[in-house]
Subunit: 388 residues, 2 copies
């Protein structure tokens, strides 16, 4: 069940508070930011779910104010949100997750928040309307969600997720706020295992601006209402569920990058042939974070020099003579230098909404694919004109 | 002696080839990029000066083409430049340094280069005119040089330097191309020692866009014409020389950041109180490279949330409760949260050409100061409209 309202935290009239609730306790798993400066809601999550998984009933999310760096009152405000939501749903505060997103350094307007929680709780329904999503959006320009169904033990089960996030995106654990639900039966520990695996190639593979947020949170609820036998790793049903979850996470993460601040293109940077997967990730992220590379993509320029330079500055091992670079499948660099290539074909690919850059390091079997976007004047406009 | 000409490597009529020569063999020391993709000129320098220091007569520098990723011909072209310059000056090729800057992936137009070397060698004179500097400029908008004089053994000695560089600036050894000369007598090994120390707080402390160049080169010549007793580390004269050299390097590095692509402000990020100098450097660079922080500075916003987030995402240890952040000397963050502060005073400071951000981590004695610039729409314009 979900409900969302506008309670006045944001100055616009957009929804700014969302409650997502399960009818009974669900298995939950979370991933939160690795930033050392963390928001009070993340501290609350770590208190109620010290191992990142457990049983819970609901999550209350607000936008417009992230409750980060708000001093000793911050954690109290987060707890008050959980307590009030729990009272309305008939469960203890410890069964209610909290997430906040928006400006850093301002205390939550708790009078408005209290009214909002009461109103949203009174409005809980089974229809997943987009107000729920709008309730957690900030600089987002699109409503981002994903649903995958699969068959487990002869039953159709669903994995559904929503996400907000557009700037300060370089998750090293999770991105901004993503909420995922499923009706599958699974223990909290196994749910967390599946979530960790799904995040590795999705939320932890994207970057908009190399800035890791203080509030990154992915929270997942599994209600068990599908009635399947509780999933165990190593079984075919678990694998099917994990694949569905990975697909939902990938779609959500991808939609965050497409909606990256100022972004006009989605860029996939696929590194293969690294000495290890870890080095492939370092190399792919070095390209995906390079402002010169991102400007070149924005300008539609197949600038392999900047790609080679970004690979070379990383701590992953590179041998320019073994390196091959392709854009849109067309080889543009090999043997230590640029090649003659079909420029109109590559330029046409670069002019499209999705760009594929493939770098084969030629040194081993390590691989990783990072998702990023181009860097435009609009990113500067959004982030220079925004005032605290 | 120096001379510069326009020989046609650049399509504008600006000078594009510079020769800097000593009348006799000088002590030389170099620092080159740590990027794993390196230009042919850097390979030539590493061949003739395998320990980063030695004796040499001259350096020939061209702009407009960096001779990077040019395949097996690249090193031959660099060597040909050294050979021809050596013949004209009466010394072997191994006594001539080479540096190239400009577009990556195109072979040097050697017919033009040969004519340029002949013309520049015929024009060598003792007057340091700005054509010499223009001969190595690319996207630079200013001529950047620095001179410091000091007294050694009762004699006035001079340290003078010139530098080019504006984009692809995140040296982890040296920045683009800087040439420094002195009349001091000093052995190559001791000259390199002094240069390494001077670069640590200057060229290795700056960033424009976190992209490390493939061609970074600092080359220093010491002619010995001052007639002093050869300088030895541990003496007062060496310390005086090292201080003068550090000042020249700092001024040159600073001028690169002021002329950073699209930059409108110079930003000093001073981190103190880190557990070690190494962690202070990691923390300072994390802030200095953060696009969100750089956009906030561009917009004149004292956004301490982005500073705290950039510190927190780094691998340096941070405790938000011990962290203090000042802008222009005014404390804006302490005790885990923002403080009430004199906003007009801080905004006035942010409106000026030089911004000072001081972060005291409160954890130890480690310190490091990084220099960066703001991030503007102009950076995108320069780098998206530039085509290979």
């Amino acid at each position: 069940m979900a409900g969302a309202v506008h309670c006045g935290i944001k100055s616009t009239d957009q929804e700014d508070l969302t409650i997502l609730a399960s009818e009974a306790d669900a298995s939950v798993a979370i991933m939160t930011t690795t930033n050392q400066v963390v928001g009070a809601p993340v501290l609350w999550l770590r208190r109620i779910l010290p191992r990142g998984a457990g049983k819970a009933r609901a999550i209350v999310v607000n936008s417009g104010c992230s409750n980060v760096c708000t001093g000793p009152h911050g954690l109290g405000d987060a707890e008050a949100m959980a307590t009030q939501t729990g009272e309305l749903l008939g469960c203890p505060a410890e069964k209610v997750l909290v997430a906040s997103t928006g400006i850093i350094g301002h205390r939550l307007p708790m009078t408005k928040v209290r009214k909002g929680i009461a109103a949203a709780a009174g409005r809980l329904n089974l229809r997943q309307d987009s107000a729920v999503l709008r309730g957690m959006m900030t600089t987002d320009t699109r409503e981002k969600s994903a649903v995958v169904q699969t068959t487990i033990g002869g039953k159709t089960v669903t994995v559904a997720g929503i996400v907000k996030g557009s700037g300060m995106i370089a998750p090293s654990m999770a991105t901004m706020i993503a909420l995922i639900t499923t009706d599958v039966a699974i223990s909290p520990a196994n749910l967390r295992k599946a979530l960790l695996a799904a995040c590795a190639g999705s939320f932890n593979a994207i970057t908009v601006d190399s800035d890791t947020s203080t509030s990154d949170t992915v929270a997942m609820f599994a209600s068990g209402k599908a009635g399947n036998k509780s999933l165990k790793p190593g079984t075919r049903d678990y694998a099917r569920f994990a694949a569905a979850l990975a697909e939902v996470c990938y779609e959500l993460a991808r939609s965050v990058v497409i909606d990256g601040e100022g972004a006009t293109k989605l860029v996939e940077v696929a590194v293969t042939g690294a000495r290890s997967d870890a080095e492939a990730k370092i190399a792919a992220k070095s390209v995906a974070d390079s402002p010169l590379f991102k400007c070149a993509i924005h300008g539609g320029d197949p600038n392999w020099g900047r790609i080679a330079a970004a690979l070379g500055k990383s701590s992953a091992k590179i041998d320019p003579d073994k390196l091959k670079i392709r854009i849109g499948g067309v080889m543009i660099f090999s043997g230590g230098t640029g090649r003659k290539f079909d420029l109109p074909r590559v330029e046409a690919h670069l002019a499209g909404p999705e760009v594929n850059v493939a770098c084969d390091l030629g040194l081993g079997k390590g691989k990783f694919t990072a998702l990023t976007c181009d860097l435009s004047r609009e990113y500067i406009t959004i982030n220079a004109d925004y005032h605290t």
